[in-house]
Symmetry: C3
Subunit: 206 residues, 3 copies
C-alpha cells in the first residue's frame, strides 16, 4: 500500500464531491440509505464506467476500492452534517468543479494512451466528467440537468480541445494536465458566475 | 479519404434522420443546443453502441467521425429550418424508416459475421434499429414510445428473420440486404398507413 | 442437447419470475405485447448483462436462448391467466426471491472465477440480482423501487459476504452455494415479513 499520488488525491476529492451531489439529490426524493449510496456511487463513477466499457477495458472502480470508499464517506458526511451542508454550497461547487476538471483530463489521457484520435478522446473526457450526472438524473426520474442548465459539458469539451492543442504544441504531460484542467475549471466557474448558457433550441411550438 | 459507398451514404441518411427525431423531441422539452445535440447523437448511435458493447467490439462511432458530423448537420438543419420541418413530416418518416431498415440489416450482418446464431443476430438488428429511440425517450423522461405505439421493433424482427431465410435459401449478400431492408421498410410503412399495432396487454386493473 | 442441471432449472425459474414482475408492471402502464415482453426480458437479464459487460465477457443471454424463451413463457402466462395471478402474490414472491438468491450466487461465483477480489464479486452479485429491476423501473418511468422499499439489494450484499466467509472457512462450492443462496432468501423473507427497511435519508428540507 503506497501513498496516493497528487493526481489520486484529486481523483478522490472529485469522487467525494460527485457522490455528495448524488446523495443530496437522492435525499430530496426520500431514498433510503442504500438507494442514496447507489445514486452517489453512480454519479461519481458512472461516467468513468461508461468510458471504460466503450474503450474495452475493466471499469476503473473494479480495480481500486477507493471509489466506493470515498462514496461511503460522502454518505456518512451527509448523514452527520445534514442541513449544514447547505451553508457550504460554494465549497461543494468548487469541489465539484475540481472533480469535473480532473475527470475530464483523466478521460482524455486514458483514451489518447489507447491510440484513439483526439476527437474520440475529447468525447471520452466529456463522458467521464458529465455522464455520471446524467445517470443520476435518470435514476431520480428527472430530465438530466446538463441538457438544460448553464455550461457544463461544454467546459469538458473546451478542456479536451485545450489538451489536444497543448499536446500539438509539444507541451509536456504534467503541465498539459494542469493547463487543461484549469481550462475546464475556469470555463465552468465563469459560466456560473456570469450565468452563461447555450441558447435554448426552439424548433417547434408544441 | 475514399468516396463513401452506397451503403455508407444510406447509413449517413439514417443517422441524419434519427438525429433529427431526437433533436425535435429535445427542442419540445426546452433543451439547450448541447442537450439537443446529445439527444440527437444518442438517438442515432445509441442502438449501434449497445450492440457493439454486447458484441465486444469498439463502438462504431469511435471509428468514424461521420456519425457525429451527420448529427451536427441535423442540429444545424433544425436551427435553420425550424418550424418548416413540420411540413415535411412524410419526408422525415421516409428517411427514418430507411434508417431503421438499414440499421437493422447492418446489425444482423455484423452479428452473423462474428459467428453468433441467427436468433442473436435478429435481436442485435432490432437493438441497432430501435434502442436509440428508447434511450432518447429515457433522456427526455418519457415512457419509450416503441413500447406503446404502432409496430416498430417488430418490423426489425421480421426483417431479421427474412435475412436468415434468404441466407438459408442461398441468396447472395447484396440481394439479401436489399430484400431484408425492403421488408423492414414495407412492414413499417404498412403498419403506419393502416394503423396496425400489437394488442395492449391488460393483465390487471390498477 | 443435455438435460438441464439443477442450477439451470433454478436459473430458469428465477428468469421466469423476474420476467413476470416486469410484464405485470408494464401491463399496468398500457404497454403493448412487444413492450411488455421487452420489459420482462430486461428485468430478467438486465442485471446479468450489465455484469457481463463490466467483466468483459459475452452477455449470458447471447449464449443460451433459454432466457428469452423463459421470458416468452412468462408473457403467455400473464396473457392466459391474467388477473388470477394476483391471487398468487405469495407464490410469485417466493419465485422472485429464489431468483434473487440464485442470481446473486451466480454473479458472485462468476466474478470470483475471473480472479476479481471478493468486494468486486459481492457488488457483481448484487448487480446480477437487483439491476434488472432498476432498468425495469427506468423503462416504465418510475423511480427505482429498490432505492426506497424494504431491504432488497442488501440481501444480495449479505449473501455475497456470506459466500466469501464460507469460502474463507474452506466450505466446498456446492454447500457454499446453498448456504449463501439460503442467506439471501432468508434475509429477504424476514425483511418483508417484519417490514424491515433502511432508514430514509433526510439531509435537507426541499
Amino acid at each position: 500500500m503506497a501513498f496516493p499520488s497528487f493526481m489520486e488525491i484529486l481523483d478522490f476529492i472529485g469522487t467525494f464531491a460527485f457522490a455528495i451531489s448524488g446523495i443530496r439529490l437522492a435525499s430530496a426524493k426520500q431514498f433510503d440509505l442504500f438507494g442514496a449510496y447507489v445514486v452517489g456511487v453512480v454519479t461519481a463513477i458512472g461516467g468513468g464506467t461508461l468510458r471504460d466499457l466503450m474503450l474495452g477495458v475493466t471499469p476503473i472502480w473494479m480495480t481500486n476500492p477507493m471509489y466506493l470508499i470515498c462514496s461511503g464517506i460522502a454518505l456518512v458526511w451527509v448523514i452527520v452534517f445534514g442541513k449544514r451542508i447547505i451553508n457550504h454550497q460554494v465549497t461543494f461547487f468548487i469541489f465539484d468543479t475540481i472533480g469535473l476538471a480532473l475527470f475530464t483530463v483523466v478521460g482524455v489521457e486514458k483514451t489518447l494512451a489507447m491510440g484513439f484520435p483526439l476527437w474520440v478522446a475529447v468525447i471520452m473526457g466529456t463522458i467521464t466528467g458529465a455522464a455520471g450526472g446524467v445517470f443520476r438524473d435518470v435514476f431520480i426520474n428527472e430530465i438530466p440537468l446538463i441538457f438544460r442548465k448553464e455550461i457544463y459539458a461544454l467546459a469538458c469539451i473546451i478542456g479536451g480541445l485545450c489538451y489536444g492543442l497543448c499536446g500539438w504544441l509539444g507541451i509536456g504531460s504534467v503541465i498539459n494536465e494542469c493547463i487543461s484542467g484549469a481550462c475546464v475549471f475556469l470555463v465552468r466557474i465563469l459560466a456560473v458566475k456570469y450565468h452563461l448558457g447555450l441558447p435554448i433550441l426552439k424548433g417547434e411550438d408544441e
